[in-house]
Symmetry: D3
Subunit: 151 residues, 6 copies
């Protein structure tokens, strides 16, 4: 058996659950010149912003409880995502309404990482496995945490 299988076959079940939020955003950085903003972000830098139906897929992993047959308490997961993410981002303009992105460009990359850092303390680092953020039909971002950061 190769090294890959040895690592993957951890006996855990990986549960993924999809959530949605609709938000406006603008890709623009004060630290870049107007020309650089337009070159890097294109029409995403339009002044008033645009928007997306974001899909958020949260994957948690764990051994299966022999009594309940479940790897996580679903209502606990739903409460965490609703309380820490959806109530914060849904139907907001990310750049203007949400402090997480007052200084940080709300790219898919940064939103995914920010969601990780909001959920990890609540769900536990052992349990949270992946944040997947679907921005458009043809674009998605995945983040698995940062070993360095979590040490």
């Amino acid at each position: 058996m190769g090294s890959r299988e040895a690592i993957q076959r951890d006996g855990k079940v990986y549960l993924s659950r999809r959530y949605k939020f609709a938000a406006a955003h603008r890709l623009y950085s004060d630290k870049l010149s107007q020309e650089e903003n337009e070159r890097v972000f294109g029409k995403c830098a339009n002044p008033q912003g645009h928007g997306h139906n974001y899909e958020l897929v949260v994957t948690v992993a764990g051994p299966v409880d022999s009594l309940t047959g479940m790897c996580i308490d679903l209502s606990r997961l739903d409460d965490a995502v609703k309380g820490y993410i959806l109530d914060r981002y849904d139907h907001r303009h990310l750049n203007l309404d949400v402090e997480d992105f007052l200084e940080t460009v709300p790219t898919g990359e940064n939103i995914a990482r920010q969601i990780w850092s909001l959920l990890e303390p609540v769900l536990g680092g052992e349990r949270l496995y992946r944040i997947k953020l679907v921005e458009t039909r043809d674009n998605y971002f995945e983040y698995y945490g940062d070993h360095e950061a979590s040490i």
Copy 2:
């Protein structure tokens, strides 16, 4: 044969083509009080707006050309939708950037009707059959024109 079949069986082919645009909007009317705005539009009335990945499905109908086997020149359709709709709405804040919605609330209903009135003069009233606007995964709006208006 019932009356329905008699009307439907018109020998035409109905071609539907899907386009996309991402935009921000806010549901809010100056003509309503703050309380009414909140009651009618809920969180969609948040001041800075939110956003969606809109899907636009344009259906045109016509008899099939015996030589080309087609019911419309596709590049003409694409050019019309790009020039009159996508360039106008994509990556915009509908309330702030687009004159169509300076006075009109950009609900799905109004966006669909506005797209109809922009495309009908270009594609021709005989040809344009339906505007379908998908706002979220679970919500869409269809508009077939207004016989009264077009007389």
Copy 3:
């Protein structure tokens, strides 16, 4: 302009909204013999039943309110579907838990018609346009009411 266009172009907007419920059912009729049940319904006649994730798409139609830009009060629609349909069918065994199907086979056809007859009195016959019931990825049923019945 042909007869089809004259009828379709009613100036209304058609709003469709998707709901979900998960239910068990069994296709079996006491009025048929065991052999006939198996021939007509195949494995759907298995004694203990099986199940589906049903998608219900409700389409309502109406003129657009010039003030709100909407063709229906969405919360009224959601309340009606939740109160009259989802609370009744979701996470139930249709044949055993729901009186609608104690005497009637819960085929997609019958479920769609039953949902129509439950929603029409609440939403109004002028407003309700279509019930679409998606039973599996490759099967769906549409019902538009019965003119005879509604006279």
Copy 4:
């Protein structure tokens, strides 16, 4: 009640069923010059052809049988589509393998009409309501028959 409702509310259930076939085709007509072929069909005129995963949605309509709760015998529908369409088109090069398109350009329009004319005699003109052919994610064709032709 407006004329539209009077026609639509026919008490029938409309059952739609999805089928798939994968085929190669080339859009090219011997009756057009090379230049015209390229202008009309673009890269679809490439000599060796290209291909699609076609989705075929067949809609049949009928009153619901009070005993079985069904509007059509599904196995009869499946047999007809398999025998007359899928066995004929699936895993074929439409222009080279299928006589229907030796003289006729296999556009989506023509394939949809051809499927109608193959299925209508088998399923019956009262029953067959619509042929929908999905050619790509963003393109589909619908055909409802031709009243003139069927008289």
Copy 5:
């Protein structure tokens, strides 16, 4: 090159194939009190059960045969899934008809693990990589085996 790449880049192709089955189930354990069952499983504990359209995605991995260009004999995979899983679960009430779940709660977690243990001996532990079970549009479960168990 980091450790991740070293492990992932195994030169294999991972083939995933989607299957479907419709089944009823009930989440309830005799080992829990009625109150605990309701707290843990909510409406999923309703006595008569409910149901789902399950999607099963089986991923197998292997080096590519230089002659056929394939990493597995597809008909062998289809036969295994049909014979060992679909014939066993499709159109069944999992709790009442299938011995696998007479003692075990048929949660998504347990169904995924059970499918793994049914397929691994047939397909071979070297070849079977992942079982993915999609229970609803917004919920899925993945299982990669258990290294401990397979030693």
Copy 6:
């Protein structure tokens, strides 16, 4: 923390982007007898070929740039995929038009590997993480490169 987490938590963001191409292909090898071709490839060996709407999902990984908030220059990715893959495969007959498959059977496995070997030199081995090729609704292939080959 187990070995899996240690490897996965690399602080990178994985960006996936979906592209499409429509192509014809035939599964057939000159090195196999006619009987073997039919046994291995079934109807996919039909002489004139058939076709698919292929979806190509390219996943690249990298640390997030602190200024732009992005892990890759998207236009560079789009240019590479368009120039090296889509212009080469889209609206082609893979066996007849594309030199990559004059000697090699264009199975999903081989197309995925070939796309990897065309994109890796352009995007860089550190950056390209996965090639996913969706051939039909129910079939997809993933390739992560070959560590042996890249040494």
